[in-house]
């Protein structure tokens, strides 16, 4: 029986700092990737706030996990999708702190999600 490796989708729906969800979701992604699990990241709803450039966690003495987004490439996490509709609703420019992020509409996000075996939301 061949053990097929499961692919993981991590969906971020929370903003950067007030809840620890953003940091926890990034930790989960990096841990899974370090075990060679295929991981794709999704940012929808208030999750898109995490992708804004020039956030400064130290201003409010929060853990600067945003800087750790740079490690995603090193862990081979390159399938990163940011929801365009959520960005527009929040009046955010699409310049992103994520190097490999693709801004796309929710239909593409839905189709990408269908290919993932396990979906975790944060």
């Amino acid at each position: 029986m061949s053990h097929r490796v499961k692919s993981y989708a991590i969906i971020n729906t929370s903003a950067s700092f007030d809840s620890l969800k953003g940091k926890e979701s990034l930790d989960a992604a990096l841990i899974l990737a370090s075990y060679e699990m295929p991981v794709s990241l999704f940012f929808i709803g208030d999750g898109v706030y995490q992708t804004i450039n020039a956030q400064s966690a130290e201003t409010i003495q929060a853990k600067d996990y945003i800087a750790t987004f740079k490690a995603l490439g090193f862990y081979d996490i390159e399938d990163i999708y940011v929801c365009n509709d959520s960005l527009d609703a929040r009046n955010i420019a699409t310049t992103s702190v994520l190097a490999d992020a693709q801004c796309c509409d929710k239909h593409l996000i839905k189709s990408k999600l269908e290919h993932c075996d396990v979906v975790l939301t944060f």
Partner: protein
Amino acid sequence: MKPLPPTIHLIRTSAFADNKLQLCIDTLGVNDELFLLDDGTYNVNHALLTNLSNPVYVLDEHLTSRAVSAAEFEVINYVDLVQATVKAGKVITWQ
């Protein structure tokens, strides 16, 4: 009779994520004031505040840490916030 000191509302969450700001606006008095703190600073881009007659203030540190621009709302610091809570009649926190 001395005019009543204003009631101030502290908004701490994003109206894109929950209905707290809507609930606050539903109970807003004529000269009540709104203060946007923490994730509430994201509300500067929300339609609920665009044609609101009440004064709206935003805390500077919480705004800059989230790289959000204040749009037309007045930016204040912690000292202003504390003074406002001291002279306010009532302080209501929506979280």
